[in-house]
Amino acid sequence: MEIKIGLELHCQLTGLQSKLFCPCRCDYRGMSPNTNICPICSGLPGTLPLLNQRAVDYAGMISIALGCKIPSAVVFYRKNYFYPDLPKNFQITQYNAYGFTSIGVEGKVDYGVKSSTIKRVQLEEDPGRLVYGNSNLDTLIDYNRAGVSLVEIVTEPDFSEPKDVRIFLNKIISIIEHLGVCDTRLDGSVRCDANVSLEGGNRVEIKNVGSFRDVKKALRYEITRQKTMSVRDIEIKSETRHWDDARSITKQSRKKEEEEDYRYFPEPDIPTIVLGDDYISSLKTKMPELPHERKTRFLRVYGLSDHVAQVLIDNKELADFFESTVKIYPSSPNEIANLIISDLLGLIDDSKKEQRSIFSGLRIDAKHIAELVRMIDQNVINRNIAKMILSQITKTGEMPSYALDKMNASVIDSKDVISETIESIFKSETSAVKDAKQNPNAANFLLGKVMQLTGGRADPKIALKLIKIKLAVLE
């Protein structure tokens, strides 16, 4: 059965200082309701939108990074519909019509072996937030979010598997993080809607998906639902369904979804924004390093393998962590990368991957990894012990050397130290020493004692050698 999945991502430009059309703060999180508002974003009569040029720059950068074409000029449109979270009862957005397009169109993103076509990238304002009270009658409106810059990324329906969607989303997130336009780990800063159709049938929209992990789950559920209906010859209706996080199912929206007529027309209060080739090339020079460029650099500068570099750049935080570690201890980038990917990543609690930081819950820093790798390089510890130490210090936050001392895990290879131990054993185990003259196995017994006394840390080869020398001297 042919499955078609399309995505619609909304990404807040949290990297900005102010909202899209007014000087209010872009960072509204944690503020008391309706304190981050002004006459403009609360839509008071007589106010006019003042376009934030940096928001245009950021949307332009996203478009470039997703391989989109950027038109020579863009305009804003009004999307008219009544909803209590919209202060003006219209949203200022972009629209591809009447000779104008949104800021980015016809892009392409490769993810692994496959690629997806980006239909459009558009800049628009976020509405306020409705907060439902205890009873069904009680709805509160918070306009703190109203007017925050939002970039909408729409793909063609060219995914056929939920796991590809997840890979693609990770890729997009890494790009956006690298551009520095959006802190994707802030609650609600990236939202994803999806649409699913089977065999070219009716399209079902899925909304309200809270996290990317759930996108995959929701898609799996929806595909199974549609397949089951199809097998039983039940008609699949074109509708909008909401993801029910608690029950892990999609369910029909309570709201009746009529074909709404948004009566789009150009926003008269914002003059046409001329972009042009000069603007685009100056934007390109201002753009930070993108993931694929970073990967190339990782291969070239650090000599990492393709796979290792890919895993690192797929998550900006991981790549940043790697580079700060290398900065502290530049000698072994490969050892550092391996430690991060094979050992550190394994310690990350999967349920915490959606949180503010992938390292959340782990008390780990670049300096910890740097020291650990240095200790491996200097043969203070081997990889197995390094792994043990790592698991220990991510819980305690201690430096590896300190942890090592505490664990007494270091190999004793000093002849003096071992000799001292042997000396004391020869004094206490006099009968065994006597035996040793006749019985060669007694040397092994003495070695066992040395290991026992040093907590297993003495280098056994050196110890046995020293024991044999001492026995020979006694004779």
Binding site: P39, S42, G43, L44, P45, G46, T47, L48, P49, L50, L51, R78, N80, F82, Y83, P84, P87, K88, N89, F90, Y98, L137, T139, I141, D261, R263, Y264, F265, P268, D269, I270, P271
Partner: protein, 492 residues
């Protein structure tokens, strides 16, 4: 008593107060008494700010006594159309929807007037949300024409023109979307200007049709109108459509404010717009022709010219205006502000419907038509075509200004009429805007000046100039003003 202070023009008031011929308090008190006495007949004011005006006059007098310098409009009584936001002073749009609305901020023009020490005496009547040509569609009753109170004052800035004509204030602000300043100026025999689109900030003007409207100025003389423009014109960071140059030309310096002063202009090339003169009441056409005759020969050359695309002007204008209006007015859902009404226990859609039924009939009509012309499947047929017609008019106007300095026509095709005469026939009402909408569609400045009377009813002459041609407009209007010489005030 002709030496009453309220007779004085803005220019005279400003110099009188500055030179301490009289105090601001003396002047403002007389103005407020005048309003108190005659506004019951005229109904130009929605709100009179007695206390605020007197307080401002007192502090101004104090500053003068201390030898401080004062602004160019120091002490001048100004009325403001009630769709321009005034901080802490009710701004109603003559609508039930904003009946109790007190803005928390000043419009840019209000800020600038205050910086120039003008004294805002009150808020002026209008058609609800500036939609109308007679001020009959006001929640607070119609404004009456000071020259004959059985006749309409014109609209939608009826209060702005009638108050200035009736000596209730020296100057006023209106707004002009399709003639809303010029129409009442013509009907009330005062000077009314609609500036170039982008010349004056619209920040704080409650939007009716954003791409067409401008805040306009009303005075009894061309000089007075020019004085207000010197205070309010210029770029504004709060309105990204403001500018000081003609689009397409490079801006050399930003944030400039133009300064106008009357110059004697010679060899003016005047184009008389044939279609608009011929389409008017013959009495009006005659009056326009004789005014032209007075001027021709001295400093100006006049010839008839044609503006063929004017036939599309009304259809284009009303389509665009209503489309923008339907969107602009959707924010009035009585959730964040408005009138006293409790949304509790309503599903929001039902609540919106309930409260929005409180718009007046004309506003509802325009919201419905506007929604229709924007709806899917009709956009191309109406809105897009209207925009194409608008481009056509712009192009033709542009080519005319290669031949002429100014274009002249009647301001209104008909004389002021009695109340109720057209209120039931929207199409007839829309048609009287034919002479004025062209300037809004093309974004050019236009001024209406008194040019005569017929049976005691005023006739206005309209002068249009090219974009940012306000200076030319003032110069030409001023030579008309001195040649035609119409003075006197209505007896009320």
């Amino acid at each position: 008593m002709e030496n009453n202070l309220y007779h004085l023009n803005a220019e005279q008031v400003a110099s009188g107060i500055k030179n301490r011929d009289f105090s601001a308090v003396e002047y403002i008190s007389q103005i407020l008494e005048r309003i108190e006495k005659i506004d019951v007949k005229i109904n130009a004011f929605v709100t009179v700010d007695n206390e605020g005006a007197i307080e401002k006059a007192r502090s101004l007098d104090k500053r003068i006594q201390h030898g401080e310098s004062i602004g160019g409009l120091g002490g001048v009584a100004i009325g403001v159309k009630d769709n321009i936001c005034t901080k802490n002073l009710k701004t109603t749009c003559a609508s039930r929807m904003l009946e109790e609305y007190i803005p928390p901020y000043d419009a840019t023009v209000i800020k600038k007037l205050k910086e120039n020490d003008a004294i805002i005496v009150g808020k002026l009547n209008l058609d609800e949300f500036a939609m109308g040509s007679t001020t009959e569609f006001s929640r607070f009753g119609p404004t009456r024409n000071p020259w004959n109170i059985n006749y309409v004052a014109g609209g939608s800035s009826g209060g702005s023109a009638a108050s200035v004509a009736a000596l209730e204030c020296a100057i006023s602000l209106g707004s002009d979307t399709g003639g809303s300043v010029r129409c009442p100026a013509s009907f009330c025999s005062v000077v009314g200007l609609k500036p170039t689109y982008g010349c004056v900030s619209r920040y704080g003007l409650i939007s009716y049709s954003n791409s067409l409207e401008q805040i306009g100025t009303v005075g009894r003389t061309v000089t007075d109108v020019m004085l207000i423009m010197n205070a309010i014109a210029g770029e504004d960071a709060n309105d990204q459509t403001t500018r000081t140059t003609v689009p397409g030309t490079k801006t050399t310096s930003r944030g400039q404010t133009p300064k106008y002063s009357l110059q004697n202009k010679r060899n003016i090339r005047v184009g008389l717009v044939k279609e608009l003169v011929e389409g008017a009441d013959p009495l009006i056409s005659k009056c326009i022709h004789s005014a032209m005759d007075l001027l021709v020969g001295s400093d100006c050359k006049c010839e008839e010219t044609s503006l063929k695309s004017v036939q599309y002007a009304l259809a284009s204008y009303y389509t665009i205006a209503m489309a923008e209006a339907t969107s602009n007015l959707s924010r009035y859902d009585n959730i964040r502000y408005g009138f006293d009404s409790n949304p509790e226990e309503y599903e929001w859609n039902t609540y919106f419907t309930k409260v929005r039924s409180n718009f007046g009939e004309e506003v509802k009509r325009r919201i419905i038509i506007g929604s229709y012309v924007l709806s899917a499947g009709y956009y191309g047929k109406y809105y897009l075509r209207a925009q194409k017609a608008r481009e056509m008019i712009k192009r033709e106007i542009k080519s005319l200004f290669e031949k002429y300095d100014v274009l002249i026509s009647p301001t209104m095709p008909i004389l002021p009429f009695k109340f109720g005469e057209k209120i039931d026939d929207p199409l007839k009402m829309y048609q009287i805007d034919i002479d004025t909408v062209v300037a809004n569609l093309a974004g050019i400045p236009a001024i209406s000046i008194p040019v005569g009377f017929n049976d005691g009813l005023p006739i206005g002459l309209q002068i249009m100039a090219n974009q940012m041609g306000e200076q030319t407009l003032f110069d030409v209007a001023s030579s008309f003003e001195s040649t035609i010489d119409i003075h006197g005030s209505p007896k009320i």
